[in-house]
């Protein structure tokens, strides 16, 4: 079974402390490894303002995993995400070859990392 490149983005509830947030992230990092996946890169935006409220929360911890895994693993991780009450929202995307090159270049610092715009006057 060949491995496919994926990117998994999660928004964790702002109720968590920094340590609890790291713990949640760690559990998913281990899960990827347990199911024979390779973690390629991780990005954490920390506590960030949401563009609109989700579950009555206006902020959240953004975390992005880039990994290689079996396609069967995605269905498994999605059920776990849904059951996890710490997660406000998640998005799994399959990365095409251009995306992989893009992420590699970003990791090397050739492309400026994406920064979330925080505009206070923007209406929610």
């Amino acid at each position: 079974m060949s491995l496919v490149n994926y990117e998994s983005a999660i928004i964790l509830t702002p109720v968590l402390s920094e340590a609890q947030m790291q713990e949640a992230v760690k559990s998913y990092r281990q899960l990827v490894a347990e199911h024979g996946g390779n973690m390629v890169n991780e990005t954490n935006w920390g506590l960030t303002k949401l563009a609109y409220p989700i579950k009555k929360k206006s902020t959240g911890f953004y975390h992005f995993f880039e990994f290689q895994a079996n396609p069967e693993f995605i269905a498994h991780i999605e059920t776990l995400y849904r059951r996890d009450e710490r997660i406000l929202r998640f998005l799994n995307t399959k990365l095409d070859k251009h995306a992989v090159i893009f992420n590699e270049r970003k990791k090397k610092g050739e492309i400026a990392p994406a920064a979330k715009i925080v505009k206070e006057d923007a209406k929610v």
Binding site: A9, H98, I101, K123
Partner: protein
Amino acid sequence: MSKSAAQDNFNFNSQQATQIIRKKYCRFKKHGIKYVDYKDANFLLKFMNEQGKILPGRITGTSDKYQRKVATAVKRARFMAILPYVADGLK
């Protein structure tokens, strides 16, 4: 009368006026961008209007191939609360 006669008689329908308008081009093809990242809100804003709507490719000049990619990226960004679904004065 400080204005020159040439400025006063400027005709916006003349050929001189139309020549100033630059031809639109697809910025993805020009700069060789192959992947549209949904996480980069500032970049995606270039393809949206103030209300947060996706601008048509005929206005931004984006080719059909990349316009589809822009559209999915914007929709993903909206789902992940990186961009708003509805906004007023986004720019």
